[in-house]
Amino acid sequence: MLIGLMLLLLCQLLGEWVVLALGLPVPGPVLGMVLLLVGLVIKRRVPDLIRLPSEGLLRHLALLFVPAGVGLMVHAELIAAEWLIIMIALVVSTVVTILVTALVLKRLTRKLDLGATEERR
């Protein structure tokens, strides 16, 4: 568990270093995710010591957004002035985005017929 947590942090650190060294516009953790994925592909399985802390973190992913979200209070004035515009723009754009993405992907994968293995929790 502890080793796995350290490995996750290590991937993040490596990601941050690469971003810093190459001046990439991408955040370090995303690159860290790519690094860990490459490692797992090479190893061809997920060791339990990585799976346990990972699934622990992902199970409570929603909690981790709360501190950043409370930051909305800093912009109370701006939001009070433009909340209607912001809400309309967000709702329209989000609905259109979901429609476009889902339709494109559905259209493109229909031909492949991939015998989907649906795995229910």
């Binding site: 973190l57 992913l61 929603a62 329209v92 994968t109």
Partner: protein, 237 residues
């Protein structure tokens, strides 16, 4: 008594516990009302905490000095997304080209549509530039907003609201489009609603969650390159 309060409020530990306790309560409340995304635990929790901070006259910096330890876990959690992704790697490999095309279409739509709608309705420039990265996971959105001249903390909040809207509208949109494949559902959720959508997709299945995580990563990468170009094309920033 008041100095006692100041002492405790300044301790990081206090704000960590407030955050977790409020979130636990919000999760319990959400289950009680049947799990509607309208009362999503994150939205309820952050509203309650904002009210609490205002009642006690606490500023955001003080709160964040404690809550940053929870915020910090977003980093390793993002890295951890590699695990469900690997579990479904075989399917991802077969679908790589369709996924790339869908991601490009979705990411362009997400940024361009929100800028155009808000601009048509007369939003101020700071708002426009903070809206642009709205479909991207918070840490990336903060970086993008900073880069193009929006408000990073506003961008982070708008990202969350977008996430909630995505979770709220997605189920009926999927029904409308007759989408049954959990991979497609997850991908659309992760692309439009980042980590929020990913957390929600995990409630469908681990397959949906994995594709949502993948979409979130791909969209983040792509948008980081795309938005600065788009903003320049529209003559903003």
């Amino acid at each position: 008594m008041s100095s006692f309060w100041v002492y405790f409020a300044a301790r990081p530990l206090f704000w960590i516990i407030v955050t977790i306790a409020t979130f636990l309560f919000s999760s319990w409340l959400n289950r009680r009302v049947g799990g509607t995304p309208l009362l999503h635990p994150v939205l309820v929790a952050l509203s309650l905490i904002i009210v609490f901070l205002q009642l006690t006259g606490t500023d955001y910096d003080t709160y964040f000095s404690g809550a940053q330890f929870i915020h910090f876990l977003l980093g390793p959690a993002t890295v951890a997304l590699a695990v469900p992704l690997y579990d479904h790697f075989e399917r991802v490999k077969k679908m790589l080209l369709p996924l790339l095309i869908a991601c490009l279409c979705g990411a362009v739509t997400a940024s361009a549509s929100v800028i155009l709608v808000a601009w048509a309705l007369g939003a101020s420039e700071g708002t426009l530039l903070s809206l642009a990265p709205k479909s991207v996971t918070s840490p990336i959105a903060i970086g993008i907003a900073e880069k193009i001249g929006g408000y990073p903390s506003l961008a982070a909040g708008l990202v969350l609201i977008t996430g909630a809207i995505g979770c709220l509208t997605a189920p009926s949109l999927f029904r409308l489009l007759k989408i049954e494949d959990d991979a497609v559902k997850g991908f659309a959720l992760g692309l439009s609603s980042h980590g929020f959508g990913t957390a929600y997709a995990f409630e469908f299945s681990t397959l949906a969650g994995a594709f949502a995580g993948l979409a979130m990563g791909m969209t983040g990468l792509l948008t980081a390159f795309l938005v600065p170009v788009l903003v320049r094309m529209l003559g903003l920033g």
